[in-house]
Subunit: 646 residues, 2 copies
Amino acid sequence: MTSQEEKTENKNEKKEKKEKKNKTDSNTKYDRAGLENVMKRRFFTSPAFEIYNGIAGLYDYGPTGCALKNNIENYWREHFILEESLLEISATCLTPEIVLKTSGHVDKFTDYAVKDVKTGQAYRCDKLIQEWINKEKNKKKKPSEEKLKELDELYQECDKFDEKQIDDCIEKYKIKSEAGNDLSKSYKFNLMFETQIGPSGGLKGYLRPETAQGHFVNFKHLLEFNGGKIPFGSASIGLGFRNEIAPRSGLLRVREFTMAEIEYFVDPENKNHKKFDTIKHLKLPLWRAKDQLEFKPITNDLTIEEAVKNKVIANETLAYFISKTYLFLVEIGIRPEGIRFRQHTPTEMAHYASDCWDAEIETSYGWIEVAGHADRTCFDLSRHSEVAHIDLVAARPLKEPKIVKGVKVSPNKGVIFKDFSDKAKAKKLCEKLEKLTEDEKEKYMQEFENNGKIEVDVDGEKLLLDKEKNEIKMERFENKVMEEKFIPNVIEPSFGIGRIIYCVLEHCFAVRANDTKRTYFNFPPCVAPYKVSILPLVATNEFLQFVEPIRKILVQNGISYKIDDNNDSIGRRYARTDEIGVPFGITIDDITVKEQTVTFREINTMKQIRLPINDIGIVCRNLSNRVEKWEDIMKKYPLFEAVKKE
Amino acid sequence: MTSQEEKTENKNEKKEKKEKKNKTDSNTKYDRAGLENVMKRRFFTSPAFEIYNGIAGLYDYGPTGCALKNNIENYWREHFILEESLLEISATCLTPEIVLKTSGHVDKFTDYAVKDVKTGQAYRCDKLIQEWINKEKNKKKKPSEEKLKELDELYQECDKFDEKQIDDCIEKYKIKSEAGNDLSKSYKFNLMFETQIGPSGGLKGYLRPETAQGHFVNFKHLLEFNGGKIPFGSASIGLGFRNEIAPRSGLLRVREFTMAEIEYFVDPENKNHKKFDTIKHLKLPLWRAKDQLEFKPITNDLTIEEAVKNKVIANETLAYFISKTYLFLVEIGIRPEGIRFRQHTPTEMAHYASDCWDAEIETSYGWIEVAGHADRTCFDLSRHSEVAHIDLVAARPLKEPKIVKGVKVSPNKGVIFKDFSDKAKAKKLCEKLEKLTEDEKEKYMQEFENNGKIEVDVDGEKLLLDKEKNEIKMERFENKVMEEKFIPNVIEPSFGIGRIIYCVLEHCFAVRANDTKRTYFNFPPCVAPYKVSILPLVATNEFLQFVEPIRKILVQNGISYKIDDNNDSIGRRYARTDEIGVPFGITIDDITVKEQTVTFREINTMKQIRLPINDIGIVCRNLSNRVEKWEDIMKKYPLFEAVKKE
């Protein structure tokens, strides 16, 4: 997710509205307040530091939210890392400036801001202008047709403005701050959090805006770990940070967030995927860049195989991961009809990408990007190779051996250290010569052949090495090789876990019989925060004695549970566990005492079966691990009709 | 882990040396270089940003290290969160200054530093002085007895020095930098990473040095989630950051680290634990503060029950978690004889603690703190209550009803907003009056009773509210209550996951038959990075066809695996998987083709059994989840004697 990408969100929402203009807007019906009420009251999430009035864009996860988050992350691990044999790494958030300078983030990871000249309140320019436009359009006195057209165009264009265009726009339309004050000139604001590493004050660092760089700087280790073979992927689940100018939209735009990223390294000459056959039959909703620009709808009728064949999606590996993402999202509870894949238009593409498809989910806020699938080409590995002077390359076997020409550089250290009085400089000089790239060697070789000496730049000083003084030897050579080196390309699926969590909450939020007080979440069991509730029908010792043995069985099977031995009616207690989406409920009743069975209730159907205590472990595990479905379990055990109604 | 705690490490190592002076030092024999070689070569960890020459104190985890880390974290979750029904939360790393000012970290989370006046290189003062002492003592010309005594005392004392004492010491002994240059005056250096939140530059923030504050600021939500009942615990696994002055010792002293912390909230009048009986029989190695100061050894012969009874450990809850930590460490592969619990001496206790016991593990670096168990009393909740003006309290039922006196403050908003021209100020005033603590209300009441008016401080300005003007009403009342409120105390077990990982690596590192090239890790299966290897005896289609079905079985059972279908000898491939501690190896051979069975080898015993393919899932799962041990499995299946020797 780049800053650039976000800017297009509003635009796309707008396009969507155009598409839908003749439909009723289903979003207005969504009970977001109801959802937010449950999220807060049952501690899924909470604004961070709320007792100190909170900090915009920072959220904490409570027990229910945290469990949901862990489960989604664990399923992501299973679905991607374990299934695709990816190499998981965990790299640091603290990142020295040089890495993010090299990656382009220091220069390009920016938004434009303006400040209220009186209060100092900052605004993101594009959002500010767009909000002003919305207000203008909704004024009692409607703008003229001509004016409306002008505003619509401005809405579309303002996220591509430079400083001058922004300042001109603000002046022309007399746009003010929320408090009605004048605004400062616009300025570029880098979205990375800056800090100092170490006590000497010399080392500027940032909190990483993406986990990706941690993969790239470890590329050599990863390739070696994989036995030198390509393709392979690395994966990482970890924090990213982004100092949003004025974050809103709750969990959807935050300053600290969990990302799950895959960097899949491929041979640029072969971006096929060996498991492509397993997904090629899927038909996914694809919205091409071309179609977006021409206000054309989504394509729904292409198989993935056809999409690759027709160059809608650039290559098999990109298409494979798009498909895997689709399957992932459906499995964790997103409604299939609320998913689409939107290709980036040329102007919104991040600085490192050649093609990109966002997975978007429909929410009450509109369509929201939750994952990107970018072909980052060889951009990152090339840049780090250049700056760190290290070859980040892989090799492919050749069908026939090839003659490779090269240059051997042999500095004579003994002589150099004798000739140079500044030993530290001599050391740096030798180190530099050891790290030359092939291109640099060739350049020096030409100099050497022409002049018999070479000039090496060390910390801005030109140092001369002379063949005659025996300081250096250089030779050309030819080798017969069986492989050729190349810089791998990178296909990057990148997931915003917090956004996905929010979308799962929205899509799984349900209401019974139109009674807005009887809400529940129909989470798939694999992601539900707690899998089972344990409810003694009444809190007598006769029933309570079963709680601990049942709890033990659940712990042994790694099943999270919630005990409610309050004396409230069973219906009320079901309602409480329903509210946080506990998919299964165990009640201990008279029959339990006589027959060692419990009732086992499912949240969606509210149907109950009679389950032997001995089977609780395996049934809960199979349901949670997606080995069996409720329908399967229902067939195996007798239905139980409770006497009282809930 | 506080900064203060760390300072004592060296001191304790020193005490240890004294204790051991007549023993041979077993540490010198430990093959740390061998371990580090494997860790690097097989990508357990790597210095972060190595291609840019690295940043001290930052490490990345590769696939093996990352899997080990995940497994240890997951087992921690099972052992603590699931078993103890703790409430897991995930709070942000970014923390506004006010929170860490309130917690005392802004003022007290500091070390003293000095700089080389020429190079700017910074040193931590106590470490610098101690290193200088070590050098002095190891000089060819041994110091006199008297001098030795002076140096020993200095070694013990220097970590408690203030600026002046440090400067005097450096001057007196003419201590220089590593480069031989003069040193600056000493200065306090705060160990927190600072940053700015938001674009306006007004909000100073830090990266949290501990996860604990995230629990305290969420206390009200947590208590409510727990139905208002106490005791209960919250838990969090997340990052902590500490800007070490000059980090060394590899993974043991880093700037970004994963912590697992529990805040267990108890009634200060009842710190018993309901599951105390389950651990009270344990005899743990306890090193009391008193005994440390008197150079007396560790106590090994007290049961936990006796330790609490004799006030060696302050209360049951503290003792319960100390015991749980012991069981946790043993289960993940730490040798029991390499664990001890050391009580903090009064001078080293953190500013918030009343009693503290560190879990320490013996390593080649000496005894290392990996977890702390502190009684933080009501320090944090009281401080946040005071500063945020919010009651962070719980309630206990009373045996008999009690009369509670209080003050009701009723500002008359209508009148106030009429009387005050500055409406923003009026709003703030009313908000402040809504948030008064009981103490503040009493103070205002006295003012009100004396003068008929009260003076309220809003942003430094004193605002007057007058009874006569009908701006405010205040009344005393009496209520009969059935419960009384109290500020809970907090027992905090806090784990450094990175340190634990390093200790597990050290303790599980083993060598076969004294051949330092045949190293392996005898990780318990539950923490091993990969549980099983899949090795076709030779890479023919006949054998390879079994790889995918076996892999599928493993994925379905959530078992991590490593396939090695290289044509190397089976012995070589075993050696490779041994080196990263894969506990079980599956080979596919002739008999597999005929009988659908595989060989199944265990790493420690190197014994093999013959296992039906259908049983692979359940056997691997039971071994990984600690349901069965290798000895149990051995009894169920026929032993298989390989023809060739490994």
